[in-house]
Amino acid sequence: MFSRFRNRMGNSAPRHQLTREGVRLCDLHPGEKARVLEIGGSEQFRIRLMEMGLLTNDIVEVDKYAPLMDPMELIVKGYHLSLRRMDAEKIAVELIERNE
């Protein structure tokens, strides 16, 4: 009964280390927009984001943070998506619109 889970773990999958320094998605403030430069993390996470429509070169807007400051809410491709900050830390971005 336990083994059924083990073999579906994503742990063995390769992890992608971010190659660039700089701004991460989790550093953005509500209202700011950014372009996605690179997505790191486990392959499972990267695939998940791809199929949910968050790919490199896409524009994301940070809508807000949850009352306890985690997770964060993004607007991607016209819909609302929520990510934990620890996951958003694996996404390198380039700020394109500041919060006035």
């Binding site: 949910m52 809508d63 929520s82 934990r84």
Partner: protein, 759 residues
Amino acid sequence: MSRALTVAVAGNPNCGKTTIFNALTGTRQHVGNWPGVTVERKEGRFVHNEQTYKVIDLPGTYSLSTYSVEELVARDFIVQDEPDIIVNVVDASNLERNLFLTTQLIEIGRPLVIVLNMMDMAREKGLKIDTETLGVLLGAPVVPIVGRTGEGIDVLKDKIHRIQAHTSQKARHIDIQYHRDIEVQIEKISAVLAQGESPPVNVRWVAVKLLEKDDRIWEYLDGFADKEKLRQTTTEAIEQIEKIYQDTSRAAISHARYGFVRGAMQECVRSSTAEPIDYSRKIDKVLTHRVLGLPIFALFMWLMFVLTFDLGAYPMDWIDAGISWLVNTLHALVPDSMLSSLVVDGMIGGVGAIAVFLPNIFILFFVIAILEDSGYMARMAFIMDRVMHTLGLHGKAFIPLVMGFGCNVPAIMGTRILESRRDRILTTLINPFMSCSARLPVYILVAGAFFPENAGTVIFAMYVLGVVAAIFSGKLFSKTVLRGMSKPFVLELPPYQKPKLSSLLLHTWERGQVFIRKMGTVILVGSIIVWALGYFPREVELSQNYEAQSARITQEWEAQETEIEHAFDASVALGEEQYVSAMVPFESSGHYKELVTQRDSLKQQIAANYQEALQKVDFTRQAETMSQKWIGRLGKLIEPLVAPLGFTWREGVALVTGFVAKEIVVSTYGVLFGVGSDASEENAGILTSLRNSDMTPLIGLAFLVFVLLYTPCLATMAAIRRETGSWGWTTFSVVYSLLLAWLLAFGIYKIGSALEWLT
């Protein structure tokens, strides 16, 4: 009529698949589980133009590259079971992301009908969609629909019918075109596939999947002969692509798919308003507000609790009264026999004790349906994720855990709102530690007996300890038996919607009926077993002749009564003598009236004494009888097991019966102490007996901890079995909680004894 054709309804979560499934099939549907996994499988039928269609509502998926059990189910059905028609439901108000899955379904190459659902929302957003052109670009008919109102369902049925009738449909099939660099590699792999023996049906799709490094695609290639060459070609092709794109091949392919989608949208979608109003965003400004978000959430949780348990208390009482009435009436009507006792006490009584939870369960599911359909459920997850994440759980898991304070049965069934099976199992396993309301009478009794000054504090401590045990166990499990499978939290926050009553009722009924079915199986069997334990052996040898005792008490009472009558008669005779010369008869004098009152009050008093004495004998008899029945013997048998905790066989029996339902612990004590089984919390008899027994406050505390932690009841066990779909997990849960209960109670007793604390 020809054979039934299979129609698979596929699409992203929340795009309206179930709504359309319901609109297609009406009431002709059946809910079950997919074989081997506890994922709900909904199947229904409809007839159109004399052709029967079997419709399957697949779990929602964002793509066909799968990680969760639910997505796997959907993919396996689409790929392996080869449905005759795939109906791809697409949220028209969120086209870009939804069409990503569509590109994959197109590639599979089965007959496909695309449903543009939520057209009302798209119109509201100011979107104009040219469905004709979109259909041409995607190579499949596109039907605009409003699932909520049923607008367009008949057109959909026609299209489903027509796509089947026209074989020429195949000719319209289009290929998703990738960039040249990728197309070259697809061709290379396709060539190898086509050359080999028994090539797969859809070569191009397999080639793309190989390039995507899809780990399950090799399973579909079992019959393929030249695997080695294929592997080599694939590896080389992937290397080439990754060199060009400086990214994984899967990412390159995903980019190309989204590129295709964007191209199609540019041609077919026009937006009339520049910046449409995002109403959901406005609502969220309040509901997930920095400061207000949590209080509002707490308010909703509180409302849910009050509705479920307070409102549910009324029908609960009616059911309770109804069952009692039924049991009593049947007892009065049917002569006593083993069969009548089995049916009335065992089956009706046992199942009835659990049927009282039905109102709670249905109300809870109704409230959950409102939360889900309105879109607030996703926000709850958003708000609580920070807290639940520390347990390795998804934010939504908070809801079933809190509901556990009311009753673990609906709470465990509420774990269905969680998408991942691992989260469901983890939440189910720790749920019983949330102290349910049935445990409260036990706390009140024992804490009242031993900690009359601090009863409230002790009871509160139990609730806290339960939460601590849940947190501890959650952490333990997620580090051991349920290790490391917590999925990344990538949650869609769908727009708010006004829930539709018919769909709320349907959801409630679908989930609630599962519990009803369970009452007829596991709970029935369990009730019969417990009944048998208390019923056999039929004849028990009692140490005293209780009948003779009762008879003697009756005799005494009768004698006393005669005595009173005699004394009264004598007084009356005396009075009459004194009144002989008077004008009025003695019977109307004040003195006579006084005598009558005196006699009556004396009679009343001895009658009460008599009843009490009789009851006492009866209680003692019940207590001794119970100790002689199997259940009592079981208590004595397990006494060595609980003796290290300072418990006697009485606690043993109470704990065994408490397995059926926690509140029974109190009535069992009542019976065992010979003070009656009135399970009211103020049962002073039990309180005194407990205090006068060998139990010390310390043992009482250990007992409370044990009651808090071990498996709450039979119904909970049945719910665990139901939701995990495995006896293995059920046994694990029972054994683990017993072990934890034992160890903690042991620790408290031993440490307390050593410190001579509370003894």
